[in-house]
């Protein structure tokens, strides 16, 4: 039995899954059940007391979901993971473990518009105060640190413009401040960037995007890097203090380097309730098996489409980090050498009206509010995902009125370019 390190594609197919003990089924079965029978009263008590490994109720854990959790933990190089109902649910569950009312967290200003809304409005109502910083100005993160700061949140490749964040530089700020760095790795997927290798302590995903990859299932996941020491200074009582919900167990002491993932499960998911359907877990797991193949094709197509757009007379500018002339190309070469992702924006000389006209003329690109599908997608962020922001905030987050966002799929690139060409010709 050699201790060899299998490659990424092997893990994408195998990690977490083995033939079913009862039936021999080789594909992961969908354990579509709410609950699991106990062996006896003692077994039940051990499971409820977190003393034994096993299943109780699908809101706390499910065998299909567990395969997905181990798969993504392995791909990200983390110690454990927790799957939840959506990417947004992952963000709530993570911050619930870290913040008390009145606490602060620092977030990069360039984020998915839905996350900007969630942080600004929903989290505000919980008393979790977001402080914005500019990922292009690392010093702005340092300046935002206060004694109430409990975490820093960034996206590896930021929605919508596909800009690349300097994860290592921000992780240095987090370490100095003694707070964990949370990285939303949705747009990169671990095939392109593994944030834990660059200093992330927690990775979150919307599985809805490239990991699931087929636009058919919502999901989210939280990966624990096992790197953060939760015991210092009583700053993270959910992890360091005896938990009254579990007869005084201290999670870090009991679970060591995967205590954060356990806290998310037994204090977050159990009590807040955003459980992932086992059916969705199955769909997403099936998607992950081909992640390396799909992601490479997404990136290669995106680069070809970006190059085409950059040379088109109707296009004012293209923001794709994979282009040598792009502001983020240096960071892309460092963090995402296999490709700069497949979500990016471009702006049209004809402004807002030209954007609306383009979207209406496209035949292959679908006009909808998602990214990371096999199909190519297009949206006008200013009137949709980012519509709740004011104009200044739109421009700051890369979603000005003249901007169109693409999520390039895995079709033949010639067909995608032809579709854009005919739509721009009008």
């Amino acid at each position: 039995m050699s201790d060899r390190l299998p490659g990424f594609s092997t893990l994408a197919v195998h990690a977490g899954a083995q033939p079913d003990p009862t039936t021999g089924a080789r594909a992961t079965p969908i354990y579509q059940t709410t609950s699991f029978v106990f062996n006896d009263a003692d077994h039940a008590a051990s499971l409820f007391g977190l003393q034994a490994f096993g299943n109780i109720y699908t809101r706390i854990g499910n065998p299909t979901n567990a395969v997905l959790e181990e798969r993504v933990a392995a791909l990200e190089g983390g110690t454990a993971a927790l799957a939840v109902a959506s990417g947004h649910a992952a963000q709530v569950v993570v911050l619930q473990q870290l913040l008390q009312p009145g606490d602060e967290f620092i977030a990069a200003r360039k984020l998915y518009g839905g996350s900007i809304n969630q942080f600004t409005h929903a989290f505000k109502s919980f008393g979790w105060n977001v402080v914005w910083a500019d990922p292009d100005d690392i010093a702005s993160f340092e300046r935002a640190v206060t004694p109430r700061t409990k975490a820093i949140f960034i996206e590896s490749i930021a929605n919508p413009a596909g800009s690349i964040t300097d994860i290592e530089a921000i992780s240095t700020v987090a370490r100095k401040a003694g707070v964990p760095l949370i990285v939303d790795n949705t747009l990169a997927s671990p095939y392109l960037i593994r944030p834990i290798d660059h200093g992330a302590d927690i990775v979150v995903h919307s599985l809805t995007k490239f990991l699931g990859g087929h636009g058919n299932s919502l999901g989210g996941i939280i990966v624990d890097a096992g790197t953060f020491d939760w015991s210092t200074g009583g700053k993270y009582p959910m992890l360091s203090e005896p938990r009254p919900e579990y007869h005084g167990i201290r999670l870090q002491e009991t679970f060591g380097n995967f205590a954060f993932a356990i806290a998310c499960r037994v204090l977050g998911l159990r009590d807040l309730g955003p459980a992932l359907s086992p059916f969705n877990a199955f769909m997403i797991l099936t998607g992950i098996e081909t992640l390396p193949l799909r992601m490479q094709k997404h990136c290669d197509n995106a680069k070809a489409v970006a190059e085409f757009l950059a040379g088109h007379p109707a296009v004012a500018s293209v923001s794709y980090a994979g282009l040598p002339s792009d502001k983020y190309n240096q960071l892309a070469r460092k963090y995402a050498p296999k490709g700069a992702g497949a979500v990016f924006t471009f702006s049209l000389k004809g402004g807002y009206d030209a954007g609306v006209s383009l979207v209406s003329k496209l035949q292959l690109f679908s006009h909808l509010a998602n990214v990371g599908d096999t199909r190519s997608l297009v949206i006008h962020p200013a009137s949709t995902t980012h519509s709740q922001l004011d104009d200044a905030a739109k421009i700051k987050s890369g979603a000005g009125p003249d901007v169109v966002r693409l999520s390039v799929g895995i079709e033949d690139k010639e067909d995608l370019i032809a579709d854009l060409e005919q739509a721009l010709a009008g």
């Binding site: 051990s46 034994a52 890097a225 096992g226 002491e253 499960r265």
Partner: protein, 194 residues
């Protein structure tokens, strides 16, 4: 032995070969980690001996407490120390007076004493520090995967359907320590700072 990151084969070899385990600091309080590690290892077929001078006269899951390692009165394969780092050395020194010597000294999650480890290793005893045998058994058997933990192992074999109290196979293909290297590095940095 590099005590920052153990090869899976080292841990696997220990858990596959030891039969009796004396747990120093075993607690009868059922929310303490030592209690559930004791219970789990007993269920997986290890011959468990609780060592705790504060509870002599009582028993833990049917096994009588003894006050010290010397009071066990028979050879033990492994000593699992559930004490803080600062209380490790006297236990190791006592272990070194046993005849025959134990084959393994294991210090719990959070506990590490490099000087004590060196002494034990000089006497030919294998040492594991800052790990939990329950977690490692659950990881190498992949039983811990129910909790979304990265077992760092793979297998294409059909396992037997588990029944209560069954010994589980630990002989799965290892992904190596490399896959959670970030966590190992963080632990090393912490132990160097303290």
């Amino acid at each position: 032995m590099n005590h920052d990151a153990y090869p899976d084969n080292y841990i696997r070899g220990i858990l596959n070969s030891v039969k009796s385990i004396a747990m120093v600091g075993a607690s009868p309080v059922n929310v303490r980690p030592s209690y559930f590690a004791f219970k789990y290892l007993a269920q997986r077929g290890y011959d468990m001996i609780p060592v705790n001078p504060g509870h002599v006269g009582k028993d833990l899951l049917g096994k009588p407490f003894v006050a010290s390692l010397r009071d066990i009165g028979r050879p033990v394969d492994m000593i699992d120390i559930f004490r803080n780092s600062s209380h490790i050395m006297p236990v190791v020194e006592e272990a070194l007076t046993l005849d025959p010597l134990p084959k393994v000294i294991w210090m719990q999650l959070g506990a590490r004493d490099d000087a004590a480890a060196e002494k034990a290793e000089a006497a030919g005893i294998k040492v594991v520090m800052n790990r939990c045998p329950k977690i490692e058994y659950g990881r190498l058997s992949s039983e811990i995967s129910w909790m979304g933990v990265n077992s760092r192992t793979l297998s294409s074999k059909r396992p037997p359907a588990p029944t209560q109290g069954m010994r589980l196979s630990l002989n799965r293909m290892s992904v190596g320590g490399g896959d959670t290297a970030a966590s190992d590095r963080a632990a090393k940095n912490k132990s160097e700072q303290s």
